[in-house]
Symmetry: C2
Subunit: 201 residues, 2 copies
DNA sequence: ATATTTAAATACCAATCGGTACATAAATGT
DNA sequence: ACATTTATGTACCGATTGGTATTTAAATAT
């Protein structure tokens, strides 16, 4: 049995909401929240404005939905890497996956959570704050993982888990900027290797 | 003798161009290029639109002038630190000055060259490219300094100067994002210290 | 068949965007 | 005194912004 039960009442939607959201995600990813106009979005989705508003609410809600999709897709690796067996491997894996994701030729360069609304007008402040929470969120995830590593004796007691997490977050965010400046995956991998020389024993 | 010779012909300008440019800089610094509207700029400068256009050309030219001022002011430290006596001291000084500049309570958080137009609409692409060139510019400056250090025997031949420069650039750019996410100067200094553990002997 | 439900397409909205025409005010040159 | 030059303030420009009202089309329920 295919799961799709389509006994919907009225006129059927002519576009696929999942496809549309993916397309919207890529516009926001490339342009940022402010830089993505409704006109560019509707053109990319191949639908008219009223359809977009009916399906997704408004621009901010569309962005939120795209962001959720982004978190579950292109940056899902963040929640994966904390399952690595050692703190060192978490860091290595995190940076490697980041270098890959930030420079993939299939996608816009850089990270949507970093670049989506770093500086913006007043009307985009709520989106900016959303992204700040996202960034702090994955940093916290890493910090918790490194706390665990300390408890397990995988990391010395002397290290500060939060510092390691923030170090990785800074590297990721800096690499995101670099990716939009033209750095290649290999360059980012080289710097990742260099950066890991700072890792505690 | 005060240098000001004011035998200007027509009606005198009622505002100080230097003050105005400083105010414009701070608006762009906080809001980014797209996020700063002409309305917000004229309000901050305390002048009317025609005065702004007469004095500075248009929005993009005003941004360029503000950017030049920014480069000569808040981020002049980049050209200073390369005069440190050793590569290690260059790196230490660079990161310390960056942490200070990015979190100063007197200024908007973060770096205008990093955040001014990371993601943007099509009409701001030229500004985006300007900022990319700025970022690559100071990275090049550091790379040259580290090449010199290698030639002097201050750094081992095995290190790649460009990698060290890019590492510092990534740290700076990541720290800029962190500053806008709420990180304090002390936090950034702590991470800087940690990051320097990766420095070659 | 017909009523009901939902989506599509067109056309429109006020507000804001960056940018200017134009008349007036304030200075200097002759 | 008067022409010239430059800046100011008001009022305006077309284009674009995010967002809707309204009509029409396409499906199901009865």
């Amino acid at each position: 049995m295919t799961a799709e039960v389509k006994k919907s009442r009225g006129r059927p939607r002519v576009f696929d909401m999942d496809d549309a959201l993916e397309k919207a995600l890529r516009v926001f990813w490339k342009r940022g929240y402010e830089g993505a106009s409704i006109a560019e979005l509707t053109e990319a989705l191949g639908i008219n404005k009223p359809s977009l508003y009916a399906a997704f609410g408004n621009k901010e809600e569309l962005f939120k939905k795209a962001l959720t999709r982004y978190a579950l897709g292109p940056v899902a690796f963040v929640s994966d890497v904390v399952n690595e067996s050692t703190a060192r491997k978490v860091a290595e894996s995190f940076l490697e996956k980041a270098a890959e994701a930030l420079t993939s030729p299939k996608n816009p360069k850089g990270c949507m959570i970093v670049q989506g609304a770093l500086s913006c007008g007043e009307e985009a402040e709520s989106v900016r704050n959303m992204l700040i929470m996202c960034r702090n969120g994955y940093e916290d995830l890493l910090a918790q993982r490194f706390e665990k590593a300390k408890a397990e004796g995988d990391l010395p007691d002397s290290v500060i888990a939060r510092d390691l997490a923030k170090y990785l977050a800074i590297l990721h965010q800096g690499m995101s900027v670099q990716a939009t400046s033209g750095s290649s995956k290999q360059e980012l991998l080289d710097i990742s290797k260099l950066a890991l020389n700072a890792w505690p024993n």
